[in-house]
Amino acid sequence: MGQITATLGKTIKEFIRQKTILFWTIAWPILWVLIGSFSFTGDAPSEVVSYIKGSIAISMSVFALMTAGIANLPGNIAQDRERGLLSKLMSMPINPWRDFVGRILALLAFSSLAAILVTLVGYGCGARFSYSLISLLQSIGFLLLVSLASAGIGMLIGTFIKHVHGAIMSGVGIAVVTAAISGVMAPFSSLPWILQQFARIYPISSANSSITCLVVGEGYAGYNPLTASQTTFTIVISLLLFFAGLITYSRFCWRKE
């Protein structure tokens, strides 16, 4: 066993065994898929309803990835620091980068599981998608960007908010509020102009719209986010957030006084 697999195994077990994490990452998005699928489809024609349900399932899958990165990861980091595990690890012949890779792999594995479950529930509720192999692969790329951007934000929170509950609640708050105001939890067209601009630059909602556009249709995303400029911007901002979080985490969480 290496450091990466040890950290990966431990972190996944901790994610799976904590009710709060399971609620916010899996139960909450599934609840919204159920509510959304049966309440928010309005009097749309039946051939459209299944695609509306598809866009809801995608948004909630993205929300699951967001919560995993923005709330669960900082909670896990803060917990390890608060109970002295980071001090213990610093005394051991351990490479902080491997610890980081283990945590991120655990996050990706857990959030993928959450996204798959949410999508399956959506499918069970009648959600339908329209995609090709290329658009599916592109969507997976955008999902990865959501995870990276979320993990970046999560590491920033986990580094600077020392208290476990503070870190988790700040993460949940940021995830819920930004999802609500950026079109992840509400249709883009219903947002006021200023929030529509925010939705275009917030990489998570931009990626969410891009996936919706790719596997459901542009009409369901509310606008075309797949322009070269917006896609490049989404990739750059996601990577910037990820590396900002990574550098902050490795510098400050593992810093010797």
Partner: protein, 287 residues
């Protein structure tokens, strides 16, 4: 500070909160940088000797939602043991610390003593030569503390080098050598019995009174060596040269101010008394 710990030695560093014990332990364990000075572990700087050190911080760092075995397997993985070898070593360690039967229970279901033993177990992997235990018995009930200390005694038989950080005199007495630390300086260092002898303290009287007050302490100080009286949870400790001679006088004096003595007993001085004699400070705060 100048401190030398010999290979195979059980060294206890004893002092009150804020005396610098934990800071020193964390510097040796490479968790902190020293502001000045130098530390060598088998001729290496702490940063390059991490594989030799098993550091057990004060906090309960094990994951409560993992089982005892899962926690140890995690540390085995971090140390780079292949899965099969890790499982074998973990089983041996669990056996050694007496947690084999509870290995598959979640740590949240462990008692404080079991959890502490598990955490010490993270420092028992092969190749670790020095154990640094930071206040390991703090918060343990007397029975868990006894069990824990017998584990440390067992480790001592295996010739492990142990650095025990503590503010409890009875724990420090198990060590082969004790350093008393105050304000970042080692003020005395020797075998426990020699430290007690060198302090010149003879008998210590434990006096329990119905009430505690400054006046009582003042009266008792008249009978105590160098006029030093230690206030304890239940009364006072008075350092006497001749117990038999002063006991009736103490009772009379306290009686005169209306203070009822509920219990008087005599015992040998402890390391905490030695520390008090040297510094006029208590190692432990009176609750």
């Amino acid at each position: 500070m100048n401190l030398k710990i010999i290979e195979g030695e059980f060294y206890a560093l004893m002092g009150p909160n804020g005396s610098g014990k934990t800071t020193l332990a964390s510097i040796i364990a490479s968790v902190r940088f020293p502001t000045s000075g130098k530390i060598e572990i088998y001729g290496k700087e702490p940063e390059n000797a991490k594989e030799l050190i098993g550091y057990v911080p004060q906090e309960n760092f094990s994951s409560p939602i993992l089982t005892g075995e899962e926690n140890l397997m995690y540390f085995a993985g971090l140390l780079g043991y292949p899965k099969n070898a890790a499982q074998k070593i973990v089983n041996e360690i669990l056996n050694k610390i007496g947690l084999s039967k509870d290995a598959n229970k979640r740590v949240s279901d462990y008692s404080g003593g079991m959890r502490k033993r598990l955490e010490v177990a993270t420092a028992l992997f092969p190749n670790i030569k020095i154990l640094i235990l930071d206040e390991p018995t703090t918060g343990l009930d007397p029975s868990a503390r006894r069990k824990f200390l017998s584990l440390i005694q067992e480790l001592r038989k295996e010739k492990a080098t142990v650095l025990l950080i503590t503010h409890i005199g009875a724990d420090a007495e198990l060590a082969s050598r004790v350093g008393l630390i105050d304000e970042g300086e080692i003020i005395a260092e020797d075998e426990p019995e020699k430290l007690k002898k060198a302090s010149g303290l003879k008998d210590v009287m434990n006096i329990e009174t119905a009430i505690k007050s400054e006046d009582i302490a003042k009266i008792l100080s008249r009978f105590s060596e160098k006029k030093k009286v230690l206030e304890t949870d239940v009364g006072y400790r008075v350092y006497c040269k001749d117990v038999e001679e002063v006991t009736p006088e103490i009772v009379r004096s306290l009686d005169a101010i209306g203070c009822k003595v509920t219990k008087i007993e005599t015992e040998r001085p402890s390391l905490e008394d030695v520390f008090f004699k040297l510094t006029e400070k208590m190692v432990r705060e009176v609750s």
